[in-house]
Amino acid sequence: MPFTARDLRYNAEQSYPLLYAYLHRNAQRYLGALKYDAFEVDTVIGHVVEQLVRLGLLGGDDRTSLTALDRLTDAQFYTFLSRSVRNKSIDRLRKRRLQVSTAAELESMESDEGEDHPLEDAVESVWGTTPFSTPEEISLHLVSQRNLRDLLKHCIKALGAAPNQLQAVIEELREIGADDLLKDVGEELHVSVSSPGPVNPHISQHKDHAHKKLRNCLQQQSTNLTVMIALRLTEYKNVSSQELSSQKVSSDMKLYTVDIQTLAQKDLSEDEVRKGLNGLVTEGLLDWHGEDVVQLTTTQMKRLTRFYKEEE
């Protein structure tokens, strides 16, 4: 009986030997000159096994959420495993300085077995071959996409509670000419960003603290949820009058309402929406007390729009 991803998740003890045997066969196939080196074969297998445990699949039972790997077909899952073994084998070959000869071996072997150009035979997504292949590419994408840059803006704004740290970051941003970002932050926090402030003798220390806070903030899922919900609150205002009803409260104030289901769409849970809304309440951007319908005044909507959604 072949094993499946489900077997690995729910019957790890029984399926591990089968997994091992499958990985072993593939490791020997891809390790070329090292295929009789038991340590190298086991190292490759060990890396793939570890990956499966770390991903919460092998032995994960119901303790970890199902992922895209659980939803692969059996054939796709085997291809995934085989490719993982191949990649780890190449790593080991490179480490043992055998890459020149074995790369040729690999290609000829794969060609014999029907894969004409395995490295080029990829799904062509709009991202190209491998998106985000370097940290530089990721960071460039993060700062150039408005929605993603909003997280950065959000976290810089959160530094407002520590004025010296905020000032240190403002100075850095001014030096690199991030004028638009500075302008948004300055307007929201009512601080001057146009000219350099007095030199702070502890600027380096404040900068280090500010960077640490930014790191933490940017990697928090709660930050992401807060920004996503803020964006959705502003976006749904413009999208449809049916989804977002507005009623005239007074001549200068509208009351906007959005229900939680609309904010959740298909990709967020109600719980996640509530976490995001709580984040906005904490920032003073929203008055919300757990109701199923979120209400915003014109002033609140304007403030959200100004900070999280640039004018079209």
Binding site: L55, S65, E115, P135, S139, V143, S144, A178, R215, Q219
Partner: protein, 359 residues
């Protein structure tokens, strides 16, 4: 700043003033984690690895970020299926990958493997076939799996602590799985290696603790790890009192778990369903006193009905005799020391047994 096509990727925009490029460089500086932020135990772990190069090492022991790592498959599938919300949904992960080379490297590995898996054309690899058992799997690979599961349990506990949630059950089940798999390893040295971090991780359930120091008056016993079967002739050691030797003759070929605390020795035998702890040559300070026994991993798996109900506080019925000997019934179990696999499971449970004066 102007907005850019959400799906366009970073390479498809112009940046004449270089503003984005400079901002991106600054962001990279911000996200880079200094080595000083590594915890001391991770540094110690690294040092350990450096002197144990021949051992199959864990890839992600040092810099494994469970909350991000486990998001990778869904994020990658979002990219592969051109989901326009993928980058926003996983923005925290993207920010994390700017500064974490381990997670970024894992992303590249997984992306390549998943892309190959979902490609519509091309050769499909053959399915795994055959019937194999854990006994037919090399012990070294079973040990590696145990180490990985234990390491994973540690990370689950640490992450739960950071998130202020209780995830003890998940970690416990990972350790139980590691224990069950380790019981299939016949070679004692490999089994010891498989479980080398078990006690340390299992004690994390109580929360963060300082490195355990030897407490005065506490005798910490651990198994000497027998080979396959765990059968031996009791009484083979040199210095024994007459009554012990006499009893030993009766126990010839009796399966047991040998224990050691520095120069002190003891063992665990089975009488029917009852597990008995035999201690010899106990310190004079203990003689004439009742003792309290703590089986630190006793609640990790639950095949034993412990005397008094608490494996951390089993009180001896009798006092230590004048020669420093004592036999203490620990509890009842359906497991049999004569069954090698069950014996290994019990041995793992007794990886740390502490003895102290009960009064």
């Amino acid at each position: 700043m102007n907005d850019f096509n959400q799906l366009g990727g970073a390479s498809r925009f112009s940046d004449p003033r270089g503003e984005y490029t400079k901002l991106a460089q600054w962001l990279q500086q911000v996200m880079e984690t200094s080595p000083l932020e590594d915890s001391e135990d991770k540094q110690a772990s690294r040092a350990y690895k450096e002197v144990n190069e021949t051992q199959l090492e864990l890839l992600l022991d040092d810099n494994y970020h469970i909350q991000f790592y486990q998001q990778l498959p869904d994020f990658i599938m979002g990219l592969l299926t051109n989901d326009p919300q993928a980058t926003l949904r996983y923005a925290s992960l993207l920010y994390h990958m700017v500064g974490c080379s381990e997670c970024h490297s894992a992303y590249l590995d997984l992306y390549d493997a998943m892309r190959a898996a979902v490609q519509p054309e091309g050769m499909r690899v053959s399915l795994g076939q055959g019937t194999r058992t854990l006994y037919a799997t090399p012990p070294r690979m079973l040990a590696h799996l145990c180490q990985t599961l234990i390491s994973q349990a540690e990370e689950v506990l640490r992450q739960a602590r950071r998130d202020h949630v209780d995830n003890d059950a998940s970690a416990r089940e990972l350790l139980q799985l590691a224990l069950r798999i380790s019981s299939r390893i016949a070679q004692s040295s490999v089994r010891r290696q498989a479980l080398q971090d078990l006690v340390r991780v299992a004690t994390l359930f109580e929360g963060p603790t300082a490195p355990k120091q030897e407490e005065p008056g506490v005798y910490a016993y651990s198994p000497t790890f027998a080979g396959a079967g765990g059968m031996r002739r009791a009484g083979k050691r040199g210095v024994r009192s007459a009554d012990i030797l006499s009893r030993s003759n009766e126990q010839q070929e009796q399966p047991m778990i040998d224990l050691q605390a520095h120069s002190l020795e003891g063992n665990i035998t089975q009488n029917g369903q009852t597990l008995e702890l035999h201690l010899q040559d106990l310190d004079e300070a203990l003689r004439g006193h009742h003792i309290s026994i703590s089986v630190l991993l006793g609640s990790l798996i639950e095949p034993v009905r412990w005397r008094g109900g608490n494996p951390l506080a089993i009180r001896s019925i009798n006092t230590v005799d004048a020669s420093g000997s004592l036999v203490v019934p620990l509890g009842e179990t359906d497991l049999q020391l004569s069954n090698p696999e069950e014996r290994n499971l019990l041995e793992a449970m007794f990886m740390l047994l502490e003895v102290r004066v009960a009064d």
